[in-house]
């Protein structure tokens, strides 16, 4: 039954076509402009066609989010290289924040906007697993070597992540007033915060 396989393949190709269009739209125009109608127009199909491949917009965005997390994983694989766990933890923090600041639209979809978290129930969201496990594994190692001032790996992981996420998302959403950062630029200020934080958690 070669036809069934071809059909299957074509179905996947169409899904790829859709999320490729969606992702490039996301990167170029951001979330607001990425509408079903715009995606449909880009791939030269009717809007209704997209609903033959995705149940709704959230399900589609979930796949785009998966791609976004894939990009984060790529960056992590490239930059998180240190053998020493604390050194690696520092690399994780800096790389994570770097990624967020330099990919605001992707970060938005991954961690800030509501969509596509309505599409999935809590225990089936696996998009962030790889990066999260990297962090948890790292802090666990740090703890066993007594290199960080935390008692529990989960508390440590959530705390560190929250710190990074806070810096990124306040910046992306323009909630950091000029007064607060003084004359230096925002990225420099964020780096200072990371520097201080790394010193704080170091044992």
């Amino acid at each position: 039954m070669g036809i069934t396989e071809r059909k299957e393949r074509e179905k996947q190709e169409m899904r790829d076509k859709i999320i490729d269009a969606a992702i490039s739209m996301f990167l170029e125009e951001g979330y607001e402009k990425t509408s079903i109608r715009n995606i449909a127009e880009k791939i030269e199909y009717s809007p209704a066609t997209i609903y033959l491949y995705y149940k709704d917009k959230d399900e589609l965005l979930y796949d785009v989010q998966k791609q976004a997390f894939g990009k984060l994983d790529d960056v992590f694989r490239e930059k998180i290289t240190a053998a020493d766990p604390f050194e690696r933890l520092e690399q994780i923090c800096r790389t994570y924040v770097w990624f967020g600041i330099n990919n605001p639209e992707l970060y938005d979809l991954m961690f800030i906007i509501k969509a596509p978290m309505n599409a999935i129930d809590d225990n089936e969201w696996h998009n962030g697993d790889q990066a999260l496990n990297a962090l948890i594994g790292c802090v666990t190692e740090c703890l066993s070597k007594q290199e960080i001032r935390f008692s529990d790996p989960r508390v440590a992981a959530l705390s560190i992540w929250s710190m990074g996420h806070g810096l990124i998302s306040l910046n992306i959403r323009c909630r950091i007033k000029e007064e607060l950062i003084g004359n230096i630029d925002k990225e420099e200020m964020i780096n200072k915060c990371i520097n201080e934080y790394v010193q704080l958690i170091k044992k």
Copy 2:
């Protein structure tokens, strides 16, 4: 000229009517359901009328945001009472996170969603000033008494704020997986993070 004053008063009353409707809508239904049309229906006016009092939706939401910050200020005035600066800093952290967790829709408007930050240019956003100054004042005092492990008050303020914001916003946006927090509930986990953080920054 009593008429001019009455007109002025009536104009303000109408604006109040609009944001009152908007704020109750925000609290009951959240950002998504708070549309110009719904607000108009609630106050029994035409949608177009709202545009006689507000330039656009963002300008309206800016006023709602102002009210939300007012509520935060109220809570701060009630809960931030300690004379000792470090004790007060701890109160600020706990109160801030408590407010965010218990007023997710308001917090959303204040710090997470894009709107209404497009309505205002960077240097004219004064909605968060009071709370921010409370934080900056407090860390400055902590620093002068050498009670926290920071060197710069601005870095300290942004760091502490980011930590709190990270915890709240990751929670509100359902990005914290069950695995990460184990068997305890999320609020307890968040409290543990604050506890550890307070210890971290304590000198």
